[in-house]
Subunit: 203 residues, 2 copies
């Protein structure tokens, strides 16, 4: 029961941080969303909101990282997997009225200059996503250093597309970022993929 309360606090915090950021989310709102007693925050998180914040970032990061597995299944075409991942992100944005984008980007921008423990949590999550995508691109035949560089570029495209999509209330940036990322994957694949990809992409 105690552990269930703790989990609900972390989950409610993750969701509130994603939608409105860290600063705008008060402890009162967190306990209300989590149906938890006020004092439970300081019972479970003696370091207060900052400790809870770092844990919520890691929690969201681990969940979101698993989404890669939905698209990059063993043997999948990495170009199609990339297209599918971005299309899934666009669909989620539409379905949630542009609220559910990256679970940690808002917090990352807010606190990078002010909270070193939370900045480090965000950095760990981004590094884990980069490593996860790089492994899958390398499995598709892309040389390791290039796979890592490509994973970083793709994550930049996705994160920026979320910023624009939320402000513009349009999924067009996500769709264009997905097409650009799929094209970059196509170009990085070994030759047997490139000739097929080139036929689809040029013209």
């Amino acid at each position: 029961m105690a552990s269930a309360t703790r989990d609900r606090i972390v989950e409610a915090s993750s969701e509130l941080f994603r939608r409105q950021g860290y600063t705008a989310t008060g402890v009162k709102q967190i306990v209300a969303e989590a149906s938890a007693p006020f004092g439970s925050i300081y019972h479970f998180f003696p370091g207060g909101k900052e400790q809870l914040g770092a844990e919520a970032i890691r929690h969201s990061g681990a969940l979101y990282g698993q989404l890669l597995d939905l698209f990059f299944v063993p043997g999948a075409d990495p170009v199609a997997a990339t297209e599918g991942f971005f299309a899934g992100a666009a669909a989620t944005l539409r379905e949630t009225d542009y609220a559910d984008a990256c679970p940690i980007a808002t917090v990352a921008l807010e606190i990078s200059s002010s909270s070193e423990p939370m900045r480090r949590a965000c950095a760990e999550v981004f590094e884990s996503w980069i490593a996860g995508a790089a492994v899958r691109l390398a499995e598709a035949g892309i040389e390791a250093a290039r796979a890592r560089a490509l994973a970083i570029s793709m994550l930049c495209s996705l994160e920026g597309a979320f910023v624009l999509a939320r402000a513009l209330r349009s999924t067009e940036p996500v769709e264009l970022a997905g097409a650009a990322s799929a094209q970059a994957v196509r170009e990085a694949l070994p030759a047997r993929h490139v000739s097929r990809g080139a036929r689809r992409a040029r013209g």
Copy 2:
């Protein structure tokens, strides 16, 4: 004098929002930074912090949009201009200890689900940047619809690179996003550019 005070308030707000976001920035901190009397905020901005916020977004957006002109000068190679723009952003990040990234992205993520006037201000700024970049890419010979799509992809890459760079305290994402964007520009240019670009990019 009154107008100078108003300008200082807008400029101080823009700088604070860029570094720490909208929610974390209090009116007290704004008047302190602007060396303005407390009541002057409500004198100049009867709509309060939200009105000031929307104006600060438009102010920052207009200033930042002018940066394009530093790199996309008439007759410039658009590939080199793209590389230069991202390299300039990376240098600014390093020089400011990763504080000065996009002036409006933090606010855009924070308020897109909560303040319609500020979301609209962010959307106008992003649209103006997209239009500005698209015009310059079209002047370089890229067909108009493709130039707009490319401008959006490039802005996604830049915005996401800022998110990652601030969290990771590294300019590597900006450098990789710049290389990917330059490559996309190279591929979109008419044939006489592509052959030269292809020689530099492949291999």
